[in-house]
């Protein structure tokens, strides 16, 4: 028995509609069907991750070399396999220290890449971007717009400093035992809060917009399903 493609698409669409309605039913509160959908999604993603890890990592990088050329394959995978095997000792609380070597290797490499990338890719370019508006000779902005660029540069610099001042937690102790930041840092941090609030407002607005797009897309799926049903029957 075979099903035609339109029926399969309709069945898939019906399943999608059903799951969508179940998710929408969360408006009435948490219940079994909603949890069933959530847990099903989490389980599906976990199973999919295992399959992806095997297909994308284990098989091509570990098994395939051994199958193709065992001698050369062993030479290739010996060190990664040893380090991976040491990680298995992390399961045991008594022998977990053996796996620290592999874990240290992973953390060290990851941190090195992260810090190096952050310094070269974010910190230094952003510092340069903040300073560059004040370099009038090397500025790419036209001469007519240099004044506005200079003002923009001041604004960016002030916003950056004010935002960083908000995260300055150094304070001097007082006779009363309390600690309070310096007055000018306190005032600067108050201005920094405004910049942070604007940035977080933008992020929240973007989150809402993304959510609205998802809602609109689900509504379109429901409408298409209804239209398909109307057209089909």
């Amino acid at each position: 028995m075979t099903l035609d493609v339109p029926y399969l698409d309709l069945l898939g669409s019906a399943l999608g509609v059903l799951l969508t309605l179940l998710v929408f039913s969360y408006l009435l509160g948490d219940h079994f069907l909603v949890r069933l959908v959530f847990y099903g999604y989490i389980g599906l993603m976990a199973g999919f991750a295992v399959v992806i890890a095997f297909n994308s990592v284990l098989y091509p990088l570990l098994l395939q070399p051994l199958i193709d050329d065992p001698l050369a394959g062993w030479m290739q995978v010996a060190v990664p396999l040893l380090l991976s095997g040491l990680l298995c000792f992390k399961v045991s609380t008594r022998l977990s220290r053996i796996g620290n070597l592999s874990l240290a290797f992973l953390v060290g490499v990851s941190l090195a890449a992260l810090i190096g990338g952050a310094i070269q890719g974010t910190l230094m370019p952003q510092l340069s971007a903040v300073i560059s508006p004040f370099d009038l000779e090397r500025s790419s902005v036209a001469a007519a717009d240099r004044f506005s660029g200079l003002i923009e540069g001041f604004l960016i610099l002030f916003g950056t400093v004010a935002t960083l001042a908000y995260f300055h937690f150094g304070a001097r102790p007082r006779f009363s035992g309390s600690a309070r930041r310096l007055e000018w840092i306190e005032a600067l941090s108050w201005v920094g809060q405004i910049f942070i609030a604007i940035a977080l407002g933008l992020i929240f607005a973007g989150l809402l917009r993304a959510g609205f797009v998802a809602l609109v897309e689900r509504v379109q799926v429901l409408l298409n399903f209804v239209i398909t049903l109307q057209q089909g029957f």
Partner: protein, 708 residues
């Protein structure tokens, strides 16, 4: 030898020590009874006094040693006489023992330790008293007795039980019963119950002089005032000796002052000299009458006039009353008067004397009041049973009951107050949902309500320029790091750009740094190809390299040598042997690199790791609207780190509008616009509503704050 316990502090000392190593109290008495004298039980009428020898009491004065030696020589006839007097009593006692089963017998095996302390002191005192009275009884027929002693004897014979020993002797001293409530009736009844057998037994054997104190049997010597503080109490033997002496000899004995007493200070007064009578100070003369001792002195006193008037009125009445009495009644009244005077003096005097203990051992044997604390402290060996019982007052009992009640209440489980959970505002949820849902439906049904975006943003312009500059059959690397829930937005954002690339015949290489990204990338290209009418298929239109493991490290490794990190496609085929990819060895070989993500962290990591490996002019970012504020700083920096940024459905709709190819973004744009407007309206209405509500509740809140 056994360890010995200190009678003072109660601590155990090693054997052989004579002094306690903790409190320096003497552990062994100075004089120990001979073994043959300790065995006999206490007999009624006999004394436990021992006659010390001169060898073991070298400190005794000569006159005391002589008197005791003399008494020792007369002890045997005294004891024989005493035995004769006790013979009929022993028969009666044996009959009583048979009747009471030997309950009150001393031969029940009652040891010295079983006897309570107060009973032992009672027996000691009664023994000493009986010894004194026995010596007085011996001399009863031979010596003349003073008139007051005669009266006392007759009184004792007439009513021997008027002053029983149990009433005279107070068994409660200070130290053994310290802390006891002597007013407790139960305790007193218990003590009197223990004392009853003695009081019931002793009246049969009390001699006529038992109730008399030793000091009554001696004449008061005229000691100087400074010696009266420590009066030497004569022992029984001394009293016996004095009683046997004639009045002249007694005077000689009294006038004979021992040598040790002669050496005391203040002895230089003349013999026969008496102490001067006490005279009031000069300032009290005329205010306080002098002490009157004789009737002659009384007649010299001048009484006030009002007292004389009373006397003058009472005397005739008394004389008339005396005339009416008969001689017999007058004699009776005189006797009663004399008896009343003696009985009034006796209790206080006897009580004061009975409270003073008599020494029974050592050089001070027979003396009273020399070491008053010794029998109370040194002889305490066995605490009374009453001491082990907890004495609780009513107040303490009430407090203890209250404390126990509090403990019980604390131990009872108390129901936990159910936390107040915020009720889900289902009504508000449903209202907001249906408003947004209605806006979306209306947007789909009536798309003309939303006008398409016309203005061209800088980011879209740069993106269009970069796509337009792509050569034909260009190779494009698509980094797709999106999750399923954001697929619609990312599709709307990138659909127009991908459509333009497909028009140019670009070949796509797909890679993803998250596990579901590979499938989402494949789905994205399929959907764009389907909606835009292209015939793009895998391997001919794109190669999916799949999942890039390792996070940041994987990105860095991929940026440095992509062919070694990801040699195979997601289908297991060799990726870099495709004809379209033969010239690709590094990232810089791609004509364009597009990063599509909805994660700000992942976007920043890709920017950081791709820097230096991809030209900025060939790097595009298509991100979600929520990532735009963070990624835009890389785009608007000077110099730029990325060529362009497409953010959200708006930039996608602009791209489609500019290219005049409405696609996925424009399909959703109408509904999206109405939903956003509805959301803005709801936010405004909700803000105004809660602001008004807060203003209305402000006076009430201020009132509650003032009350607090």
């Amino acid at each position: 030898m056994e360890a010995q316990r200190c009678p003072m502090c109660g601590r155990v000392n090693p054997p052989g020590l004579e002094v306690c190593q903790y409190c320096q109290a003497r552990l062994k008495p100075l004089w120990v009874e001979p073994p043959q004298d300790s065995s006999p039980s206490i007999e009624v009428g006999s004394t436990r006094a021992r006659t010390p020898s001169a060898s073991n009491e070298p400190l005794l004065p000569d006159w005391l040693l002589e008197s005791r030696l003399d008494l020792g020589g007369e002890s045997s006839p005294r004891m024989s006489e005493q035995d004769d007097s006790e013979q009929p009593l022993s028969e009666e006692a044996s009959a009583d023992e048979e009747r009471f089963g030997g309950l009150f017998s001393d031969e029940l095996g009652e040891t010295e330790e079983d006897v309570p302390e107060w009973l032992r002191s009672l027996r000691d005192e009664s023994e000493s008293d009986q010894g004194v009275t026995a010596t007085a009884a011996i001399e009863e027929g031979s010596e003349p007795i003073p008139f007051w002693l005669d009266f006392e004897e007759g009184k004792a014979e007439e009513s021997p039980s008027e002053a029983p020993p149990s009433e005279k002797v107070l068994p409660f001293h200070e130290m053994p019963f310290e802390g006891l409530d002597l007013e407790d009736e139960s305790l007193l009844s218990e003590i009197t119950a223990e004392a009853k057998p003695i009081s019931a037994e002793e009246p049969q054997t009390v001699p006529p002089f038992e109730t008399l104190e030793p000091f009554l049997l001696e004449e008061q010597p005229s000691f100087p005032p400074q010696e009266q503080g420590v009066p030497p109490q004569p022992s029984a033997s001394t009293l016996q000796e004095r009683a046997s002496l004639s009045p002249e000899a007694a005077e000689d004995w009294m006038s004979e002052i021992p040598s040790w007493l002669d050496a005391l200070p203040g002895q230089d007064w003349e013999e026969g000299e008496t102490a001067a009578p006490e005279t009031p100070p000069e300032f009290l003369e005329g205010i306080v009458p002098p002490f009157v001792e004789t009737e002659e002195e009384l007649s010299d006193i001048e009484f006030p006039a009002w007292l004389g008037q009373i006397e003058s009125t009472l005397e005739p009445q008394l004389e008339s009353l005396m005339d009416t009495l008969t001689p017999a009644e007058t004699e009776t009244l005189l006797q009663e008067e004399s008896l009343g005077e003696i009985s009034q003096e006796q209790p206080a005097q006897s009580l004061a004397q009975e409270e003073i203990p008599v020494e029974v051992v050592g050089p001070l044997h027979g003396l009273r009041g020399i070491l008053p604390a010794e029998p109370l402290v040194a002889e305490q060996k066995k605490p009374s049973k009453a001491l082990s019982e907890l004495l609780v007052t009513d107040k303490q009992r009430a407090q203890a009951e209250l404390f126990l009640k509090l403990i019980e209440e604390e131990g009872k489980p108390k129901p936990m107050p159910s936390p107040k959970r915020a009720r889900p505002h289902i009504l508000w949820r449903m209202l907001i949902f249906f408003a947004l849902f209605a806006g979306a439906i209306l947007g789909f049904v009536q798309p003309q309500f939303a006008t398409p975006p016309q203005e061209l943003s800088v980011g879209v312009f740069d993106a269009m320029q970069a796509v337009n500059q792509l050569p034909a059959q260009a190779s494009v690397l698509l980094v797709v790091d999106i999750e399923g829930q954001d697929f619609a937005e990312m599709q709307a954002t990138t659909a127009a750009m991908l459509d333009q690339m497909m028009i140019k015949g670009a070949f796509f290489v797909l890679v993803s740094a998250n596990q579901s990204g590979a499938l989402q990338a494949d789905r994205l290209l399929r959907e764009v190809s389907r909606l835009s009418g292209h015939q793009y298929q895998p391997s001919s239109g794109w190669v999916n390299l799949g999942y890039l493991p390792g996070g940041v490290a994987g990105m860095q490794a991929f940026s440095q040598s992509l062919t070694e990190v990801l040699p195979f496609t997601i289908d297991g085929e060799v990726a870099w042997q495709n004809d379209r990819l033969r010239n690709i060895r590094t990232l810089s070989d791609f004509d364009l690199v597009v990063v599509i993500t909805e994660d700000s962290t992942r976007a920043r990591q890709w920017v950081e790791q791709l820097k230096g490996h991809v030209l900025e002019s060939r790097l595009l970012f298509a991100v979600s609207a929520q990532v735009e504020p963070l990624i835009r700083s890389y785009y608007e920096a000077n110099p730029r780190q990325i060529q362009s940024v497409l953010a959200g459905i708006r930039d996608g709709a602009i791209y489609e509008t500019q290219t005049a190819r409405p696609g996925w973004a424009m399909k959703l744009w109408g509904a999206y616009t109405l939903v956003v407007l509805t959301a803005i309206a709801l936010i405004l209405v909700g803000s105004v509503f809660y602001a008004v509500l807060a203003l209305l509740n402000r006076p009430q809140a201020q009132g509650e704050g003032k009350e607090r």
